[in-house]
Every structure is written in C-alpha cells, then in structure tokens.
C-alpha cells in the first residue's frame, strides 16, 4: 500500500519542529517512529499535507532523573524505555509494560511520545500513565509550555488535549520504586493490541488501576480503587473493575466479554501487585 502524497520536513530541533507546526497548522502531522502514523497513512485514514519528522531530534530523546520523578523525552524509543535501568528501578511498571508494546521491531522504532500523542485506548502505555498519575509536557511555537495530568490528556478516541500547534515534548512519571505493581495484557496473538489490559500500582490500600481498551480513552478502574480504599478484599474490589466503563465492540470481543476480562485481569493484577 502506498501512502498518499505529502511533503516532508526533517526537523533538527524541537524549535524547528514547532515552527514548522505553526506554519502548517492542522495540515501537518508529526512523525517520530511512524509506527502509528504510517499504517494510518497507508489505509488513507489520515492524509496530512506535510509530515514533520521529529524522530532524529536529540533533545527529545532522553531519560533523566528529575528528583521526585523521571523525565522521558517524547521521542525516546520504546526499546530505550524498556531497557532503561533508571526506569526499571524507579518505575518498573512502565519499563515492563513498554517491553510488551508490539514486537521488537516496533519497539526499536516506535516512541513513547508517539504512542501517547496518538491517543489509542488500545495502546499499553497510556493506561500506565493514567494509573500512576504521570504528567505530560506540551510546548507550542510561542515558547509556552504547559503540564497536563495524564488523566486529562486523553479526551476521546485518538483525540488528546494537544492543540494543533502543540507538541508533546516530555513525559514525567513519578518514582514509585517500592509500590507493588502488575501489568496484565490479554490478546489472542503475540504482538496484537490488548483486547483488554490492566496497569496497576498498589501501595497499601491506595491503588492506581488503568484499563486498556475499556473505552474511548484509557480509564481508571475507580470503583475498584474506591473499594480497596474502603477496606474491600482484592477479590471483592476486582468485581467492580468494569463499573462505569463503556468498552468497545469489535471482532475480538463484545462489551460483555471485555467487562468479564477486566474483572478477571484486575483480580490477577491485584494479586500479583500484592505478592
């Protein structure tokens, strides 16, 4: 399949990319690893007139210790995130879940920022970021920078809080070295998106539970979190995992089946996070 015609700009810095974004506006798309965008182009589901390539911008690829958090440059590849010793020690849930994204070839090229900005509720990392209350840093061509809580970033299916002239530049994840955690991914074939997935962190009775593919955006299993905080057992709390969700229906699963999976997988996640 051949993508539609587009013009191409290779940005050498974040400022260059933002200037190009300001110039072309909604006709432009940012290209990092391209592993979400290029398939969409081939299917003609997206037809930007300009691609701005940010995949080789060195100042968007880093993993730094920010004190209470780890700062990850948006164009850092999944491979780098999954292998990062700093993340494995401080936010093991994110490093582990990133190692489950796609397959090795996809992880070698795809980037964490690309996956987040794409806003696909079936992706693994958005649910992790929602579960651990990560902060997403967006910059615009005017130089203004704002911090968006992960819980407010994902607006609806493939739609995020980013304005057309904004670029996701950094992901800030809180250090949670001592918390129990678990990532559950249920799919039929290796490398597939999760039919349902669960990202959980647990510290005493305080839990953060993100659900993959249980709605138009990654969502928190709030009823389960509240039940745990109220003293319920993990099994009792897991029974509420699908409460308030609106899961999609597709060839893999109908909503009832997804709700069943969410309850089972949250149960497994809580069990693993406690052990």
């Amino acid at each position: 399949m051949i993508p539609p015609k587009f013009d191409y700009v290779k940005a050498r810095s974040a400022d260059e990319a933002l200037a190009a974004l300001a110039e072309h506006g909604e006709d432009a798309k940012l290209l990092a690893g391209g592993h979400s965008l290029i398939p969409l182009l081939k299917l003609r589901l997206s037809s930007p007139s300009v691609l701005i390539d940010i995949g080789e911008i060195a100042d968007l690829s880093y993993i730094n210790d920010g004190g209470t958090h780890i700062a990850i440059g948006a164009a850092t590849t999944h491979r780098t995130v999954a292998h990062s010793e700093l993340l494995r020690a401080q936010v093991p849930l994110l490093a582990h879940a990133t190692g489950q994204v796609g397959d090795p070839q996809v992880r070698n090229r795809g980037t964490i920022g690309g996956s987040i900005a794409h806003g696909d509720p079936a992706s693994d990392q958005p649910a992790v970021l929602v579960a651990i209350d990560a902060v997403l840093v967006a910059r615009s061509a005017t130089g203004s920078q704002r911090e968006i809580p992960a819980g407010e970033f994902f607006r609806s299916f493939l739609e995020t809080a980013l304005a057309p002239d904004e670029m996701l530049v950094e992901i800030r994840v809180p250090k949670i070295p001592g918390a129990g955690w678990s990532f559950q991914k249920f799919n039929r074939r290796a490398q597939d998106w999760a039919i349902v997935g669960v990202a959980a962190v647990l510290d005493g009775t305080s839990a953060g539970i993100g659900l993959v593919n249980m709605g138009g955006t990654p969502v928190r299993a709030k009823a389960t979190e509240e039940a745990l905080a109220g003293g319920a057992s993990p099994a009792e709390a897991a029974a509420h995992a699908a409460d308030g969700t609106d899961p999609p229906s597709d060839l893999n699963a109908d909503p009832d089946y997804r709700c069943h999976l969410a309850r089972v997988l949250v149960g497994r996640a809580l069990h693993e996070a406690r052990s």
Partner: protein, 164 residues
Amino acid sequence: MQREVTISVNGATRTDTVEPRLLLVHYLREQRRLTGTHIGCDTSNCGACTVLIDGLSAKSCTVLAVQADGHEVSTIEGLAGSDGSFHPVQEGFRQCHGLQCGYCTPGMIMASVGILADNPHPSESEIRMGLEGNICRCTGYQKIVEAVQWAAAHPQPQPAGQGG
C-alpha cells in the same frame, strides 16, 4: 515533491531521489534492486520485510525511505561473506530446516540476527518472544527456534562450499 536521500545498504552508500512517501521496502526492492527483502502483509504485522537499520531490526514496510536518510541499512543480501560463507543464522536455518516455502525467511533471519546481537545466548522463550513480530505459515516455528539456537551455538561464519 522529491527528496534526495543518501542511504548505506549493506555497506554501499548511494544517493537517490525519492518521493517522501516512498516506503523503505520499495526503495530497497525497486531502486536498489535488492529483492531479498519481501513484502508480506504490508501492515507491519508479519515481519517478512524486516531489515536492520543502524543494527536494529525494523519493518521496512513501516519506515519511509526519507527516514533512513543518512543511516545504515542491512538486508539479507548483506549477510553472507564475500567468499560465499554463510552467516551463522543463515547456516542455522539451513542445518535445522528452518524454512519451508521460504517467504518469511529473510525477515526471520534478519530478526534473528537482531535477537542475537542483543543477547548472544537467548533461552528458547527469549527466542520465541524475540520473533513475535515475524509470522510463518509453514513451519509451526519449532524449526526456526532450533535454527536460532544452532546459530547461537555456532557464532562463527560457516565456510563456503559445504554443499547445500
């Protein structure tokens, strides 16, 4: 809308003019005439088009040629020595019958080279996880896993002219 790209393929650097939308796999097959890299699903699922970019495995149907500008690409044609000696992974696939129809084989071999570069002594499970991005419709994967194990146990190039 044309762009000039300079791409090293198997050590040979060339400058070409391409459309930005040209996929790397089409560039390799049609402009460089290296047809060992196969197009299977064309949706980044099957892995038949796997090549190495700067030493890391990648699905060349999901990379634009312009993204490879200034980078080093390795394809199946570049694995054997100039004297015809096989790369250990190629020899492993030969010794262990790691293929039937052969369509997925170039991608399987390049992905396996990527696995062994990261981890010279992978477990069976690590090999299977490492090949999760490559689909084979013939073998049931067992022989492919054995081929990678063979290559891990025989890391030196295999001399040419051993029949085959």
